[in-house]
Each structure stands twice: as structure tokens, then as C-alpha cells.
């Protein structure tokens, strides 16, 4: 219940502009389905364990989700253009460290966050240029930059570690505190999510990303600057991974050279569960955010209803498979219905 409160305020501003967008959004079955699953799951857990949705419990749920939501939003943008970015985990790690290193030297926290975002955007530029100019498959390029960024991270980092004691107290408390049950990090994430979703939904360049994801060739012929849009998607993804890195530092206060490794697959899962298809051109950022929220909530729900944490990963994987399988089956059904309807009208014309 309270969970939907977070994404819910977001549609209002974006829905207001084109008019009637809110209803549209509600009718989007995919996002609704995830939201329903999420709410049912949380309610059932609450019934089983009444301490689950306490103020602290809700806060933890939101805090756990923020970082994955941020990275997921960037990833979803890239996936919508029919590409993928596997280097986000490495980017998150290196930007968290960069921000931490800057703060340890007595830097300004706001500047530290900006540095992390800029560094992430820089890696995004590299990825974007390689994919768009080099015309190399995104999977390969970003697998390569995953290794490269991780390598740079560990060379620079060595075996050093940043702990909360190295960071200014204000920065750490920003990562943990909030307005009642609403953490500052979640507010920040919601703002970023709403802005990115508004951009992708209402701006021409945002719509271009959907267009080129649906059919790169058609988009190019229609005059979409394909390379520039792909570059923009990667820069956004890198910048958000950088922001997530800074928030990771604020949240956990603890960074080493392994931070964020293996995160790329979690992010991709969240995006796919959220209904953003690998084939490009479909899905929404809100869906991706809900997917991320669902995945992180499951990780909190299972222990609190007494399921051993060894089950978490198996359930995550099964959920991902279910999500894509159900999507596909529904799509096939809809296509069949449409075909039948088209055939009927055709035969009607014929008679």
C-alpha cells in the first residue's frame, strides 16, 4: 500500500501535461500487474509478521530499492534503444570510490556527488561512442568495459577501503535518515525517476529512443539521429550509475574494490521483470522502477516470513523467467486476437 505511494506521486506531474495521461498509465496492464503483485506480497507479509510494515520496515524497503531503481532507470533507457549496458556494476563501484576518496580529502559532499555523476557519465560516453560509432554489439562492448572499469577501479583502489568513519557525518546521515518513513534517498530517486520518465515520454528525443528501439532502420530513415540518441542513452545510464554510486557510499558508508561486482545482472533482471523488453522499443521507466522495487522487496520479505535466505536467488531467477514467459504468452494471445479480428473485417468487406 504504502509502497505504491512512492511511484504514485510521479505520474501526476507528467500525466497533467498531455492530459488524461494518468488513466492511460493506470490502464497499462504490465505496470499494474507488478504493482498488484508487490502490494499483495507486502500485505501477506504484513499479515504474517505485523512488525514488517513498521515505520522502520517501510524505510528499509525504500532504502534497499533506491540504488537498484536508479541504476535500473538508466539501464531501462539503454534497453529501450535495443542495447544493453553490462558495465553499470563496475561504474557504480568506481564512482562510489571516487566520491569517497574525495570526501576523505575533506571535499564538499555535493561536489562529491557531482564528481561521481560526471565520472559515470564519462564512462557512458565511452560506451556510447563505442556502440554508436564503432557499431559493435552492445553486449560485447559493455562486457569489455565491465572488465576495463573494474580493472581501473582495483588498480586505483588496491586493497584500500573506505568506511563510514572517513566520511562527513552529514553525508552518512543523509544516506540513512529521512522524513518519517520516507528516506531522503528515496525522495531523490523518485525525483530522478519522474524527470527521466517525463523526458522519455514527452520529449521528441525521448520518443526517438523508443522509435529506434522498435526499428533502428525505420528510425534512421525517418530522420532520427540514431547515433546521438544511443550516445545520450548511454550517458544517462552512466550518469545514473554514478549517482547510484554516490548514494551507495552514503547509504552503506563502506566501499572496497569489489563493490558493485555482479550488479549488472541484478539490474538487467529488474528491468526485464519491470516489462522493458530486450527487443527494444517497449516498456517504461516506471515499470523498471517497479521491477527493481519488487526484486528488492522479495529479498526483505523472505527472511521476515521465515524463509531461509538461501531461497532468495532461486526465487529471483524463477520470477524473472515467469515475468518474461507471461509477457510472451500474453503478447501471443493479443496478436492472435488481433489477427482474427483483422481476418473477420477482411471477410466482411469481401462479402
Amino acid at each position: 500500500m504504502t509502497m505504491t505511494a512512492k511511484p504514485a506521486p510521479a505520474p501526476a506531474p507528467s500525466g497533467a501535461a498531455p492530459g488524461g495521461g494518468l488513466l492511460d498509465r493506470v490502464l497499462k496492464v504490465r505496470e499494474l500487474a507488478i504493482a498488484v503483485v508487490l502490494v499483495l506480497m507486502l500485505l501477506a507479509t504484513q499479515l504474517d509478521n505485523s512488525a514488517f510494515l513498521s515505520e522502520q520496515g517501510i524505510k528499509d524497503l525504500l532504502l534497499n530499492a533506491t540504488i537498484l531503481v536508479l541504476v535500473g532507470v538508466g539501464q531501462a533507457t539503454v534497453v529501450i534503444t535495443r542495447n544493453v549496458d553490462l558495465s553499470v556494476g563496475s561504474t557504480l563501484g568506481v564512482t562510489a570510490f571516487a566520491a569517497g576518496e574525495f570526501l576523505r580529502g575533506g571535499g564538499n559532499p555535493l561536489l562529491a556527488v557531482l564528481i561521481a555523476v560526471a565520472l559515470g557519465a564519462g564512462f557512458g560516453v565511452v560506451n556510447g561512442l563505442l556502440v554508436s560509432l564503432g557499431q559493435v554489439p552492445a553486449l560485447v562492448v559493455t562486457l569489455g568495459t565491465l572488465y576495463i572499469i573494474r580493472g581501473l577501479d582495483s588498480i586505483w583502489f588496491g586493497s584500500r577501503q573506505i568506511t563510514a568513519a572517513d566520511l562527513p557525518a552529514g553525508f552518512v546521515s543523509f544516506g540513512r535518515d529521512g522524513l518519517g518513513a520516507l528516506p531522503y534517498l528515496a525522495v531523490l530517486t523518485a525525483v530522478v525517476l519522474a524527470a527521466a520518465a517525463y523526458y522519455l515520454r514527452n520529449y521528441r528525443s525521448g520518443r526517438d529512443m523508443y522509435a529506434l528501439g522498435s526499428s533502428p532502420e525505420a528510425a534512421r530513415l525517418a530522420g532520427v539521429p540514431v547515433r546521438r540518441r544511443i550516445l545520450a542513452a548511454y550517458v544517462l545510464c552512466g550518469a545514473l550509475a554514478g549517482l547510484a554510486g554516490a548514494l551507495y557510499l552514503a547509504r552503506f558508508g563502506n566501499v572496497d574494490s569489489g563493490t558493485g561486482s555482479g550488479y549488472e545482472l541484478t539490474v538487467v533482471s529488474a528491468v526485464v521483470v519491470g516489462g522493458v523488453a530486450f527487443t527494444g522499443g517497449s516498456g517504461s521507466l516506471y515499470g523498471a522502477a517497479l521491477g527493481a522495487l519488487l526484486l528488492t522487496s522479495i529479498n526483505s520479505v523472505l527472511p521476515s516470513i521465515g524463509v531461509s535466505s538461501v531461497w532468495v536467488q532461486a526465487i529471483d531467477g524463477t520470477l524473472l523467467l515467469l515475468a518474461i514467459a507471461v509477457d510472451r504468452v500474453v503478447a501471443l494471445r493479443v496478436a492472435a486476437v488481433l489477427r482474427k479480428r483483422a481476418a473477420q473485417t477482411r471477410s466482411a468487406h469481401h462479402d
Binding site: V140, V141, I148, I149, G151, A314, A325
Partner: protein
């Protein structure tokens, strides 16, 4: 693909552009230099380490090459290997005979491959998404099966097989089954109608289907082969490192894919050779071994792997562009060459 045709003005240029020969040559150069200049590289123990540590990647790279040629991918191989190892450990703890356990583990690999393959071929789902899902699911099941235990007390003769060498030579015993599998894979891919069909499906699935290739069945069998070999690899991994844990072989999928890519297998499907894949696998393996010997840190090794990977996909494309540009300037007023659209 049409680019390649256009970019082949002279035979020498075409040969130079063959990526798999280039990788093979690079491997030879690396080996020769290492024998000559790197201390301790050439001794039998080090070479056996090199091969033994590379074998898991080399094993999975075989079916993975076939699968990628047909235009699909399997990211769940590391988890399948981990699951096979975990089940092996669990059953061994339960007192079952190892002669029964190993076939069961291989059968498990068949099932894992079937699940991937059925989801991809019957439901028409993208293999990338499916196998990211099963990557998590299989690893999760491994965790459920074995928890945080680690099983180490396998029978000595099997452990010897996993880490032993043939006589006093540098060849690990497990390299023999690998060589057999390699021979089978080479025959299938490069000398049988099945192999031709794989290339055809990878190049154009629709065309292959109209030409009478049973696309779904072919792809399914490739997924099953990948699952089976991954499970075998998991068994080998547990014996080689004398430890069955649920997190065995974590991240192996990325190493396999990096090696296969380096070997010039095109991820759009339809192109690649097993020679290239094997050269890629051992180039990465040898490079890592040499870098450790000359005290390059593990971190720098990661970096170099990444750079190699990016260069390996970028270089052929740049070379092709350059060749095409040169071709175009050579034939200044272009005859009826279809304009590159």
C-alpha cells in the same frame, strides 16, 4: 556480411582479415615469447597449471561456439556448472557411490539445457533474457541444495584425475576427454550437415527454415549440449579444485563469452570457427598465466582482458572500413557498386 564481400578486393587482404588466424598467430607468438623470455613458463608444472585452469573455459567454449554460431547465447553455464558441483557434493555426503553421482549430474545438465532450450524455442523468448533468469535460478537451487557447506572428501582416484598429469608430461589427464569433445565439436560444426545448418540458421533463421532446416529442434539440441558440457565442467571443477561449493564457477559465463568473442565468433550468429574459439580461450588463459608469472597484478589482468575484448570486436570492423575506403579510392569512379545504404 555484404560488407565482408565488398571488403575483399585481394586474397591476401582477405586472409589478413580472417580474425581466427590472427588470434591463432597471436597465441603462437605469445607462447614462443613466453618460452623464450619468461622464467618458469616452460616447466611442466606451470604448463599443466595453465591448461588445467583454462580447461573449464575451454570445455564450455566448445558447445557455446556452436550455440553462438546458431545465433543464441547461454549465460547460465557457470550456474549450471555450480549446480552440478553442488548436487555432486550433496549426494556424496548422502553416501551415494560416485559412479552413480556423476551420470546423475550430467543428466541434470541435460535437464538444465532442456529448460533453457524449451523456453527459447517453444515460447520464442530471447535467449539472453531466459539464461539470465536461469543463471540466477540454477545458482539459487545450488545454494538451496548445498547451503554454505563445502564438500572436499571425494575419492582420491577421482581427485587425482581432476588435478593429475599424464605421466611426467605437462598434459593434465582431463585434457584427454576435452580433446575428444573438441574433435566431436569440430566434426559436427565444420564437416557435417548439422554444422552447415547451424551456420545457415545463424545467418538467416527464416531462410534456413524455408530450406528445410528444423530450426527449433537444432537450437534445442545445442542448448542441451551446452547444459550437458557445463554440468561435466562443474564435476571437473569440483574435482580439480577438490571442493564442491554452491558458488563454484561463479562468473565463468563471462570468461567463456569473452574467450569465444576474442576467437572471432560473431554474436549476430552465422560466423566463426572452433579453431578461433580454442585459440581465443588459450590466448586469454596463457596471457593470464604469463601476467601472473611476471607479477602483473590480478587487477591489471582484468583490465587487459577488457581491452583485448573491445579491441577484438573493434579491430575487424575498423579494418573492414579501412579496406573498403581503400577499395573505393582505388576504383575512383565507382562502377555499378551498389551504394552503401
Amino acid at each position: 556480411m555484404t560488407d565482408l564481400g565488398k571488403a575483399a578486393p585481394r586474397p591476401w587482404a582477405r586472409d589478413a582479415l580472417r580474425w581466427d588466424t590472427a588470434v591463432g598467430a597471436l597465441l603462437v607468438v605469445l607462447l614462443v615469447c613466453s618460452f623464450a623470455f619468461v622464467d618458469n613458463f616452460g616447466n611442466a608444472l606451470n604448463l599443466s597449471f595453465l591448461i588445467g585452469n583454462t580447461l573449464p573455459i575451454a570445455l564450455i567454449a566448445l558447445p557455446m561456439t556452436l550455440l553462438v554460431v546458431s545465433g543464441e547465447i547461454d549465460l547460465s553455464v557457470g550456474s549450471t556448472a555450480g549446480l552440478a558441483g553442488a548436487v555432486m557434493g550433496r549426494l556424496w555426503n548422502a553416501g551415494m557411490a560416485i559412479e552413480v553421482i556423476i551420470p546423475l549430474c550430467v543428466l541434470l545438465g541435460v535437464v538444465c539445457g532442456l529448460v533453457n532450450g524449451l523456453l527459447v524455442t517453444r515460447l520464442g523468448l530471447p535467449s539472453l533474457a531466459v539464461t539470465i533468469g536461469t543463471l540466477a535460478a540454477y545458482r539459487g537451487i545450488a545454494q538451496i541444495v548445498l547451503g554454505s557447506d563445502s564438500v572436499t572428501d571425494f575419492p582420491q582416484q577421482y581427485l587425482d584425475f581432476g588435478s593429475g598429469r599424464i605421466g611426467g608430461s605437462f598434459v593434465p589427464q582431463a585434457a584427454v576427454p576435452w580433446a575428444v569433445l573438441l574433435a566431436v565439436a569440430v566434426l559436427v560444426l565444420h564437416a557435417t550437415p548439422v554444422g552447415r545448418s547451424l551456420f545457415a540458421v545463424g545467418a538467416s533463421q527464416e531462410a534456413a527454415r524455408f530450406a528445410g532446416v528444423r530450426v527449433k529442434r537444432l537450437k534445442l539440441s545445442m542448448f542441451v549440449a551446452t547444459g550437458t558440457v557445463s554440468a561435466l565442467t562443474g564435476v571437473f571443477w569440483a574435482l580439480h579444485y577438490a571442493s564442491a561449493r554452491y558458488d563454484n564457477a561463479t562468473g565463468l559465463e563471462l570468461s567463456v563469452i569473452a574467450a569465444v568473442l576474442l576467437g572471432g565468433i560473431d554474436f549476430d550468429g552465422g560466423r566463426g570457427t572452433l579453431g578461433g574459439a580454442v585459440a581465443g580461450v588459450f590466448l586469454l588463459g596463457a596471457l593470464q598465466n604469463v601476467m601472473s608469472l611476471v607479477n602483473v597484478s590480478a587487477q591489471s589482468q582484468t583490465l587487459i582482458t577488457g581491452v583485448l575484448l573491445v579491441v577484438s570486436v573493434l579491430a575487424p570492423r575498423v579494418a573492414r572500413q579501412v579496406a573498403r575506403a581503400r577499395h573505393r579510392t582505388a576504383a575512383a569512379p565507382p562502377p555499378p557498386v551498389p551504394a552503401a545504404t
